[in-house]
Symmetry: C2
Subunit: 199 residues, 2 copies
Amino acid sequence: MSDNIIENLTDHLAKFPGVGRKTAKRLAYYIVDLSDEEASGLIDAIKLAKSGVTKCKICGNYSEKEICDICASEYRDCSKLMVVQNPKDVDSFEKSKVYDGKYFVLDEEEINPLKGIGAKEIGLDRLEQLLNENYEIKEVILALNGNVMSSQTGLLIKAAAKKSGKEVTRISQGIPSGGVLEYFDTDTIRAAFLDRKEF
Amino acid sequence: MSDNIIENLTDHLAKFPGVGRKTAKRLAYYIVDLSDEEASGLIDAIKLAKSGVTKCKICGNYSEKEICDICASEYRDCSKLMVVQNPKDVDSFEKSKVYDGKYFVLDEEEINPLKGIGAKEIGLDRLEQLLNENYEIKEVILALNGNVMSSQTGLLIKAAAKKSGKEVTRISQGIPSGGVLEYFDTDTIRAAFLDRKEF
């Protein structure tokens, strides 16, 4: 095949997370088939996402302003600070409507000594500064993934938060809603047992 | 959430085939995270795909030239013409290296009376003209999907090809390589039986 233009576009699309070469090719054909109007709309949306989105100076979440709406809001509970690993997690909690406090988004998802990602790289300095300066924060809630490196990251954050005299909690581990026990691994089963609650 | 820029980009990405809203959001975050260089590369690739790709005047496949490399090639077997439903199918056969003839890509994947897609819309006129003008073509190979509307489309093409005095064949139906019998529906099982071959 000499369709280098389509191959070139496929190369770019294949770098998308969760998109394999085959899917990328399908997306490339989809883009070729777009009307001119739809294509410019897509290009403009990409350009805008690159130029118009910045990180909130307080929480580190993506925002179109220097201070994001959640950090600027007077209606959020300032005594709670939830630490999450990426902006998508903020989205998830906002959608769940279960949480009304503030957030802190780590700069990197987790520490990784092999990749040179340590306390500084995940933004611990920034978090420590916020905890030390903001006396309103009483509870630091760790909402981290269940893998080993995330747990290690959690331990670092816990130490820092304790030093600032804050209470530290973590979201519970267990079987997902609707989950069937037999499909889960030993670690999940163990965590679900250890995090058990009165019924 | 007030991140309208990310929502806007997500809207565009959610229109991609096989991409749901959740995946689109993940892709949007990926794009926001791209380096400026990677982002311009992506945008240029999309622009080029829209401006630099046309349809081959003979076979209807996507091409960067008026006549695609396969149609222009002297090394392909001109006695065979494979009719496929879209450019991806050409890709699949080219990758398989099992076929060395020429192709014909339908304008629409299949007839659909409810959507007003008939013989004209799928490009039957164009195919008939090619078959009538090109005496080298001896065999028309139908490589169509296994659904009902594709079969109906195949019947239309078969009639046209027969009228031009061409032999008409179709690719065989059956169990995919590595497929486990119990997972397939009655139609597949029936087709696999009827298309059986000496072993």
